[in-house]
């Protein structure tokens, strides 16, 4: 089974629409995984049935048992995150500030601090209106550990692909270069960048490429809204050549894309031309991935 991760560095480039379009043309050849758990949007286009759901527990938050607390203040002294304060003469933990390190529980002379695991979200295995299954998640508001939830979604999607003998895993990755995207990339066979020919698109591509290079992953690129700025599109292509990033395809600026999304469809479904385009991109990706060892 081969794992293909689609990332963009930043929102607004059309990453999710393009991933969903690829999912549409890949059809029964792939399992889709939405690893953009912070703002999971794939389900809006694929209409999953949330058939299987499980709570996700990860990380801990300190809780102080007021009955046992002798108000020595040691917990507050050692907390580097200023998560413990005195309210109405009681030591209290602010959950959003607590990093879950457990130092306070270690140091408490009365064992008054417990560190229960936190339910930080849910993850699901769904059938979709397309023929492919989707593994996806919902992260709780302000929850930590999105990287771990990303890993969970990916591992479950992998297990599903193996079980059903499906050859590809199509992953909608997280934005940025921090912990969720690092988690999205680990174990990938091929990375697809979705970028746009803007000053920020090029800048983000360069940053995220540096990250890929650290992972030594092969990568390809789709330039969305390519005709918006021909000069920048050229620069992106130069960058791609220089670093041996495969040129997958260009897509021109087209408000039909947003229209399709507004109506709940992928671009590959509204237009024969787009369907062909995405079929070709998918073919190219498969060819590269299967040739690589």
């Amino acid at each position: 089974m081969k794992e293909i991760v689609i990332i963009s560095g930043k929102g607004g480039t059309g990453k999710t629409s393009i991933t969903a379009s690829l999912a549409k043309v890949a059809n029964t050849e792939a399992v889709a995984a939405d690893c953009d758990v912070d703002a999971a949007d794939m389900h809006l286009l694929l209409q999953p049935d949330f058939a299987y759901s499980e709570d996700f527990y990860s990380g801990v938050i300190a809780q102080i048992d007021q009955e046992k607390c002798i108000k020595c203040g040691k917990c507050k002294d050692v907390c580097r995150f200023k998560a413990i304060s005195i309210i109405n003469k009681q030591y209290v933990v602010a959950p959003l500030d607590c990093e879950g390190c457990g130092y306070c529980a270690q140091i408490c002379p009365r064992d008054a601090i417990s560190t229960p695991h936190q339910n930080v979200g849910n993850w699901y295995i769904s059938s979709t209106r397309l023929d492919m299954p989707l593994v996806h998640a919902r992260l709780g508001i302000g929850a930590e550990n999105s990287g771990k939830l990303v890993a969970k979604v990916k591992n479950e999607a992998k297990a599903l692909a193996k079980e059903k003998n499906i050859p590809f895993l199509l992953v909608d990755g997280s934005p940025g270069i921090g912990c969720p995207v690092i988690s999205s990339l680990s174990g990938a066979d091929f990375v697809v960048f979705v970028t746009e020919p803007t000053v920020s698109g090029l800048h983000d591509l360069q940053r995220v490429y540096e990250l890929i290079a650290q992972f030594k992953l092969p990568a390809g690129c789709i330039i969305n809204k390519a005709d918006l700025n021909i000069e920048k599109t050229k620069l992106i292509k130069q960058f791609m050549q220089q670093y041996q990033i495969y040129e997958l395809d260009d897509i021109n600026y087209d408000e039909k894309f947003s229209e399709a999304v507004t109506n709940g469809y992928t671009a590959a479904e509204i237009d024969k031309e787009y369907e062909e385009k995405f079929k070709n991109i998918w073919k190219k990706i498969k060819k590269i991935v299967l040739e690589k060892k």
Binding site: F81, G102, I141, G142
Partner: protein
């Protein structure tokens, strides 16, 4: 103005000015001192992030996983894990006319965006108190956003009028309500998609501060790194509404 989208800082592509100084951001991580270690195993036991692992003949520290809580270091009976700084990002300070611009940036390969944001917030509190601060925050609803908006007085939520935009806006609204923040919405690319975002804001009694009209020209200007409001009067009109709101909030006359 401060760019706290430390994973992908982009504000600097549009506003920059003259670079005045560059300051490194460090995080504190334990460093193993072999000679002092008695292999008691306490460090591994207290670390909740698997950042310290004890093997037969050595203790391995994984700095990228470390949250700088100091537990392993301070609870080590022989002081064999002193904390030392490791560079994880930098903050650049620029000046342009009477605007100060801080660009906060996470080093590539580092995972802890929150620590860079928290460090920048400390600088804001120390050096820029009492001044009007506009922050470009990271996306999403998890720890980096929370850290970026934690100390703010008002939050502006930018959203597109598409199903994706509405879905993400609802999450953002839930986050701001949980943080008990005052906020308003700016609709970007207004004219695209449908009216659902407007209906949602009406229903939820959320103020829509401005509607930036959608146009290909705006997208082209953006692609070149140009400020859109300078060229499109309808955009300028909307941006001025936002500016007025900010002035009003900061107590300046309109």
């Amino acid at each position: 103005m401060v760019d706290l989208d430390v994973e992908e800082p982009n504000s600097g592509l549009f506003v920059k000015g003259k670079l005045e100084e560059t300051n490194p951001v460090y995080k504190m991580v334990p460093v193993w001192e072999k000679d002092k270690c008695t292999f008691c195993g306490n460090c591994q036991k207290v670390c909740n992030f698997n950042a310290v692992i004890q093997l037969h003949t050595q203790v391995l520290v994984f700095p990228k996983l470390c949250h700088s809580c100091y537990a392993c270091s301070e609870l080590c009976p022989t002081d064999a894990l002193p904390m030392k700084p490791e560079k994880i990002g930098e903050i650049k300070t620029f000046h342009q006319d009477n605007l100060t611009f801080l660009e906060s940036c996470l080093n590539i390969g580092q995972e802890m965006a929150v620590q860079v944001i928290a460090h920048t917030n400390k600088i804001l509190e120390k050096d820029y108190q009492g001044q009007l601060i506009i922050i470009d925050a990271p996306p999403g609803t998890s720890c980096p956003v929370i850290e970026a908006v934690k100390d703010t007085d008002f939050v502006l939520l930018a959203a597109e009028p598409t199903p994706f935009g509405l879905h993400d806006l609802k999450l953002a609204v839930d986050t701001m309500r949980k943080l008990k923040k005052d906020f308003a919405v700016i609709i970007n690319r207004f004219g695209l998609g449908n009216d659902k975002i407007w209906e949602y804001c009406q229903r939820q009694n959320i103020e829509i501060l401005a509607k930036i009209p959608n146009s290909r020209t705006a997208a082209e200007l953006y692609s070149h790194g140009k400020l859109i409001y300078k060229q499109i009067p309808q955009v300028k009109q909307e941006v001025l509404k936002i500016a007025n709101k900010i002035r009003q909030l900061s107590g300046e006359p309109k």
